[in-house]
């Protein structure tokens, strides 16, 4: 078929990491809470209640907009978006309209090995809605339940221009955006828990200059589903165009289990949000001191950090990429380097072993039991060759699970500091000298003799030596003996 031009724009909502809600003083820690326990007259929209802006939410939104190189507008003005829905207790959502926090920004990300740039159209703040449940213990099947714990949590919405051109791009942009909101501490960006949500606008055109018909895709709850939904939508639209069918603007929902997008029937012919300035909230002038303060506290971003890691620590791009994806991992790495200035060696351990353990335990570095100091206690031993890499790996695994110190794990595992190879070598020599028969047996092909010899070393060290290290030393020594005895027949 003919070549198609794909254009994607994303709208991402992130819950801001405030302790209190956007317009009232209720707490935001809603996950796992009893329904309607984090509520007050304001976030339940009780008659007579009035909203007052949480200034921290405003600051986090400005921080987001600044990081995305937006122009920051001088005043915070809220609009009402009017529509009826049971999770929206006032009959309108407090949002922003023609005067958002920031406009005209950009974001750079790595898309399939290439540095790409997306224009950010706008960054605005709004309040989250409540949650509906359709089946609960005692809720009749013909009813739904409403929980307002989430209602009023601050959200920042980040809208791109239609600058993305493949599902991969969309996924990579989203990965970078999540990484950034985490870096700057404005959101935990957790898609599965709903603290980061993404809607996509996708359009397919036969010519490069014109835009196709805009289709909105919603209900994508993971990075994977964003990618798959867009891939599905791309092929669906390609097929339509190939068959000469007309595409029309619509909203489609991603059905995760069936792996298809489904048209939301007749996108409300009469929908009209009637945005107007919220008369309950006076415009708030953003003071220059606040802007300066936020600006001067912006952290280093993933791409900058990556370049610095490559330059300062002589890491490869791949290594640096892995380390900077999660800010806390990058910080963890840099704390480790302070203990031992061998970045390459440490990077290697962090990228392979630390990440493997985190992955196995489904943890992130912040919530793991390992501290940089604990890891470095272990790696310093490896570096001094007091223990082998293999041993260290198994010790590390134990440390991740138990949170114990390297020294204690080693003691518990019966790997004393006698696993110090020099000392062990002495003992091995001693055993070799005392057991000429076993040596002869081994050299003549009796594998069992080796086990006997290991057993002897273990006996002398009262079980404190690492059998593996002992075996290694024995092998080394015995192969030296073997070479003295000349080539041996194969067995």
């Amino acid at each position: 078929m003919e070549k198609c031009y794909l254009t994607i724009g994303l709208e991402v909502h992130c819950q801001l990491l405030t302790k209190a809600k956007m317009f009232c003083r209720c707490g935001t820690d809603y996950i796992g809470k009893e329904p309607n326990s984090l509520v007050c007259p304001v976030c339940m929209g009780l008659p007579g209640s009035l909203p007052v802006m949480n200034r921290k939410a405003m600051e986090l939104a400005i921080r987001t907009a600044m990081t995305l190189h937006c122009e920051i507008l001088p005043r915070v003005i809220f609009h009402r978006k009017n529509y009826f829905y049971p999770d929206l207790p006032k009959g309108y959502q407090i949002s922003q309209f023609d005067f958002p926090i920031g406009i005209n920004g950009t974001l750079e990300f790595m898309g399939q090995g290439e540095k790409k740039k997306v224009r950010i159209k706008r960054v605005h703040v709004e309040e989250d809605a409540g949650k509906l449940v359709h089946e609960g213990l005692n809720i009749p099947s013909e009813c739904s339940g409403v929980d307002f714990n989430r209602c009023g949590i601050p959200l920042v919405e980040i809208v791109t221009e239609p600058d993305l051109h493949s599902p991969e791009d969309a996924r990579d942009y989203l990965t970078m955006l999540r990484s950034i909101v985490r870096y700057i501490g404005v959101s935990d960006g957790n898609m599965e828990e709903g603290s980061l949500r993404c809607d996509a606008n996708i359009s397919l055109s036969l010519t490069e200059k014109t835009m196709g018909v805009k289709v909105e895709v919603k209900n994508m709850n993971s990075f994977r589903s964003v990618y798959h939904a867009l891939e599905f939508e791309l092929s669906r639209q390609q097929k339509c165009l190939a068959e000469g069918k007309k595409l029309f603007p619509e909203t489609r929902h991603w059905d995760e289990t069936r792996g298809v997008t489904v048209s939301s029937r007749g996108k409300e012919e009469a929908q009209d949000y009637r945005y107007f300035p919220d008369p309950d909230l006076l415009p708030h002038t953003i003071e220059q001191v606040i802007l300066n303060d936020i600006q001067s506290n912006l952290p280093e971003l993933p791409l900058e950090k990556k370049e610095r890691f490559m330059f300062d620590y002589e890491l490869t791009e791949t290594e640096a990429n892995v380390l900077v994806q999660d800010c806390s991992l990058a910080n963890f790495f840099e704390s480790c380097i302070k203990e031992l200035n061998k970045p390459k060696f440490i990077a290697n351990w962090v990228i392979t072993e630390v990440l493997k353990n985190l992955n196995d335990l489904r943890q992130d570095i912040q919530h793991s039991k390992i501290t940089p100091a604990a890891l470095m206690d272990l790696l310093k031993m490896v570096d001094r060759k007091e223990i082998s890499g293999t041993i260290a790996k198994s010790v590390l695994e134990d440390m991740f699970q138990s949170g114990a110190k390297a020294k204690d794990v080693i003691a518990k595992k019966g790997i004393s500091f006698m696993s110090n190879e020099k000392e062990l070598e002495k003992i091995v020599h001693q055993i070799i000298e005392q057991n000429p028969q076993s040596i002869a047996d081994y050299l003549s092909g009796k594998e069992k003799a080796l086990h006997f010899l290991i057993g002897q070393v273990m006996k002398v060290t009262r079980g404190q030596a690492s059998p593996e290290i002992v075996k290694n030393i024995l092998n080394k020594e015995l192969s030296a003996e073997r070479s003295l005895c000349g080539p041996r027949e194969p067995f």
Partner: protein
């Protein structure tokens, strides 16, 4: 003396009586409930009466040990509160069937302040549904009658609050003023009603009609009581973004007596049109002449956009109202139309049955002026004209300190007289609306009677200049010495 005469006391007189142990708060409270029992069947100023709570509160106040010098400013003073202001544990129906079972789970900021100041809340007063009306005929619970003429309306929307004070069922009350809803009923009932500067009194706990216009204001029998009540309820509130972060009003803001005659009075031409009842304009001209004779600097001023105030007000107020009233959907509180419905049916049936006709009309109108395609034509235009109206006042206050106008173009009208044509009803607020649009304060003062019907004089000032406004009003009240309205035409207490 007759214990019933207690009803005529001013706040200072109550406090004096309490200090000297002449009377107790329970005795005073009981006297008002007696009066309520006597007249309510006829006046219907109240939607809820909390006799049990009020008597309990009165006893609690008596038991508290309070030193003679440290009396809270409203210690033991009974008060009635408009039913759109939340008092914890009491209903807040806003005169609407849609909130008929709504019990406020919190106190409005003004109510917190009142309670701290020692008041005794008698009950909640009748009003036009969601404060939409000028006669209290739009109440979902039946109209209030004007105590001075039971065939006539008490004005609105704070008709209950005005009527109960005029009928001596309460010594003072709180109302709310969006386009004149405190000042117009005060004028119709011959009492004092103040609309403060927008943002001077917290709106937290006042159920919104039009957020950028709503203000809570006192209704009292005298300017002095108004001053005391205003001192208590004003001041900043961290729970209301629109509440100005300025200190509360203080009677120390009032100019000294010798400064009063220097106050420059402006007379806006646009408020003396042929449409005004000659009895009203004539009486106000007399007052102006009196002031000229007293040596006040009086000048004519022009507020050229006055004539556009009414239209722009209705556009802005109804747009806001259509959104403010969206929350009454039967989900969380208030009335829900029962039956096995879909969600959409629950919404439409709850709302269509729950709201009264005028409210429905205003919601549709407000929705219209915000809807796509009409926003620029109506809502945006309304906001722009609002700017012009505001600037008119700003300019006039360059040349004068206060403006003197009628409160209404008409005397209290009969029931049904204006309720058929909504626009005729809107005209009742034509002189109170522009100042509300500008956010400036205004007071309504009884300046005389046409037969038995009171005539209201409106005094307006620059924002936050309530000191001058109230000082002058108090001076004028004394100068005019208009007898207080009293339904039984009983002699004033001075002669008792």
């Amino acid at each position: 003396m007759n214990i019933a005469d207690l009803r005529h006391y001013s706040i200072e007189e109550y406090k004096k009586a309490y200090r000297s142990k002449e009377f107790t708060p329970t005795a005073v409270t009981r006297v008002f409930f007696d009066r309520i029992r006597e007249l309510e069947g006829d006046i219907h100023a109240f939607l809820a009466i909390d006799e049990e709570g009020a008597m309990k509160r009165a006893r609690e106040l008596e038991e508290k040990k309070i030193s003679d010098t440290d009396f809270p400013p409203l210690y033991g003073i009974p008060i009635a509160v408009k039913d759109n202001i939340c008092v914890k544990g009491l209903q807040a129906t806003c005169g609407s069937r849609i909130l008929r079972n709504f019990v406020a789970p919190y106190d409005a900021t003004v109510v917190e302040k009142l309670k701290k100041a020692g008041v005794i809340i008698l009950g909640k007063t009748n009003m036009d549904e969601f404060a939409m009306g000028s006669s209290t005929e739009n109440s979902g619970y039946g109209p209030t009658r004007n105590p001075l003429d039971r065939e006539r309306v008490p004005g609105g929307s704070s008709g209950g609050s005005a009527a109960c004070v005029a009928a001596l069922e309460a010594p003072l009350s709180l109302g709310s003023d969006t386009g004149g809803s405190v000042r117009q009923p005060a004028a119709f009932c011959g009492i004092v009603g103040l609309r403060p500067t927008y943002g001077r009194v917290s709106r937290y706990g006042l159920v919104s009609f039009a957020s950028s216009l709503d203000q809570i204001g006192p209704l009292t029998r005298t300017v002095d009581d108004c001053i005391t009540l205003f001192e208590v309820i004003s001041g900043q509130d961290e729970r209301d973004s629109t509440c100005a972060p300025y200190p509360p009003f203080s009677r120390n803001d009032i100019p000294k007596d010798e400064e009063i005659p220097k106050i420059r009075i402006g007379i806006p031409n646009e408020y003396f049109t042929p449409g005004v009842d000659p009895a009203i304009s004539g009486r106000i001209r007399e007052v102006i002449d009196l002031l000229v004779n007293k040596g006040f600097p009086v000048i004519n001023v022009s507020l050229p956009h006055t004539d556009f105030g009414l239209e722009s007000y209705y556009i802005v107020a109804l747009a806001e109202a259509s959104s403010n009233l969206a929350r009454y959907d039967g989900v969380l509180y208030g009335f829900r139309k029962e039956g096995s419905f879909t969600l959409q049916e629950m919404y439409t049936r709850t709302r269509t049955e729950g709201f009264g006709k005028e409210v429905l009309r205003r919601i549709v109108l407000g929705t219209y002026s915000l809807s796509s395609g009409y926003y620029d034509e109506y809502y945006l235009k309304g906001m722009k004209v609002r700017t012009l109206v505001r600037k008119d006042f700003e300019a006039s206050f360059q040349n004068c300190d206060l403006l003197l106008t009628p409160v209404t173009p008409c005397l209290p009208f009969r029931f049904g007289e204006r309720s058929r044509d909504p626009y005729q009803m809107y005209l009742a607020d034509v002189f109170t609306i522009p100042s509300a649009m500008a956010g400036i304060p205004g007071i309504s003062l009884n300046c005389g009677y046409q037969d038995h019907l009171p005539i209201g004089l409106q005094i307006l000032s620059a924002p936050f200049a309530e000191g001058k406004l109230l000082g002058f009003a108090r001076y004028l009240e004394k100068l005019l010495s208009i007898p207080l309205p009293f339904p039984e035409k009983m002699p004033r207490k001075e002669s008792l």
